[in-house]
Symmetry: C2
Subunit: 306 residues, 2 copies
């Protein structure tokens, strides 16, 4: 096999209570990438559609992660990478992670899968660092491993795959406003109340238990964020209204996806997810803000070969 | 049945990463209590052995929890309570919780089990509050439910029962020094670094996952406390030496039991637990501090009828 076409999914990081550690993988939105094995050595970005991104390998997220892997294993070939961007950069659903993970995943398949998912994450982190100025894996891990993940550490890479309840769906709204990651970081306090931290780790423990026991009620109670959301929600217009509309429509919980501006809701079943989508639309259609919404099942596989 | 004899176990709260929420139940140490159903109404403490504790029902932890339950359900009888204290008050292994939980558990059995474990916890909290000036359930929950527990909330009572790996043992050392709970609380910072909180909730999530997957390596990595231990260990002589000796002897982890001064280590199997006990002895036998050590399996049942 000399070429491969892949689907590199969007992801939701933090999942309310699990800032910087939890994430899950989406199924209905993701980038497509085609990777060709070439006789000529080196990594080249040969096509980019759907977003204005640099073609220079060293300045492109997918290129940087590909180069990190390429230089480490030094294969007897090269790779051309085509990127069909479907995830808007800056949406808060892991656009850069999809690019960074997709290139190394595709190259690995074309080389006969010499690397495991942990090693792929290690190289993908280099691309993610280009986009966000730090190595964080809370979007990469769900993209590469699928389902729900918990990032224990990035150095060394230590990812836990958590179970996914059967009937879990996501509704997402992306208000098309720009939030700079730096701004979303700067708004967070460096110090937090011990009492709030206790609430948060109680919820993280509960959420992991809920995933293991298929307990939707407990999952719902655990989807709470007393530390990050109160600060970041100020950057997202109508956040409280959107959140209330999700809960009123039967969502298990609703929160900021990554550093925003996208907002996710988790639901039991597709029917409620579509109710929530309707509710999101009825809030945002009254505003002048461009937005889109979608419904997705949790993607338990991660990146897929098309 | 008009009388019942029970074993009300010692417990370890916090479990390194899970301050104020996690706990587990011990098997080889606990109070014994005998509870008699009487024609005469009311609650009486009729015997106390092994500790200097008040006989007045309203001033006795076991009496206060018993009264709370008694007044709520108003049964057509009374109860006499005999307490054989084996858990030293102030040891940090849930002495007051054992008393508070034991009386309500025993009364409930004698009444034909009208209350579930959540309701028993609600009344036991009233006794625990007498001892510690606040309603906390991190020792009560493992005593009543057994195994590992996560306290989501005390009002309303919301306890999760976590699975216990088959071969998990505990080694414990109780240095017989006094640490006032108030002092152990006062030494804690009200504000903590967000970065440390993230580490802690990553570990809580990992620990819950490790319990569900029988993953001893992950359990070991998760048994870390970057928030409470650095402060409280100052109150416990030779804490660092004890902890190093446990890890060097093969323990999965080692930390402060509750607010101390007892120190626990978790091990895979009894053999390593006994190695750790020997190591604890070799550290403390060189000091002038009175202490005792013991090894216990995790008690997955909680309070037992003898």
């Amino acid at each position: 096999m000399d070429s491969i076409k892949i689907f590199s999914p969007a992801t939701v990081a933090n999942v309310s209570c699990g800032f910087d550690v939890l994430g899950f993988c989406l199924d209905s939105i993701g980038d497509e990438m085609i990777i060709h094995k070439t006789l000529e050595k080196g990594i080249r970005i040969t096509k980019i559609k759907g977003a204005e991104l640099p073609f220079e390998t060293e300045k492109n997220v997918a290129g940087v992660s590909a180069l990190a892997m390429y230089n480490a294993i030094n294969p007897d070939c090269g790779f051309d990478i085509e990127i069909y961007k479907k995830i808007k950069p800056g949406s808060g659903i892991g656009s850069s992670a999809a690019s960074a993970a997709g290139s190394v995943f595709g190259m690995n398949v074309l080389l006969g899968n010499p690397l495991d998912k942990t090693e792929l994450t290690k190289y993908a982190l280099k691309g993610e660092a280009l986009a966000s100025e730090c190595e964080h894996a809370d979007n990469l891990a769900p993209a590469i491993f699928g389902g729900f993940t918990l990032v224990r550490s990035v150095d060394p890479v230590d990812i836990l795959q958590l179970p996914t309840p059967d009937d879990l769906y996501v509704t997402l709204i992306h208000p098309q406003i720009e939030i700079k990651t730096a701004e979303a970081r700067a708004i967070l306090p460096k110090q937090i109340a011990l009492q709030n931290a206790i609430t948060q780790w109680s919820n993280v423990g509960s959420l992991v238990h809920a995933l293991h026991t298929n307990d939707y009620d407990l999952l719902s109670k655990s989807l709470s964020d007393v530390i990050i959301e109160p600060h970041r929600k100020q950057l997202i217009p109508y956040f409280d209204t959107i959140k209330s509309s999700a809960i009123d429509s039967g969502a298990l919980g609703c929160g900021i996806s990554g550093s925003g501006p996208s907002i996710f809701a988790l639901t039991k079943g597709e029917k409620i997810a579509k109710h929530v989508e309707k509710a999101f639309n009825s809030v945002y259609s009254k505003t002048n803000i461009k937005y889109y919404t979608f419904v997705s099942k949790i993607n338990t596989q991660g990146i897929k070969i098309l």
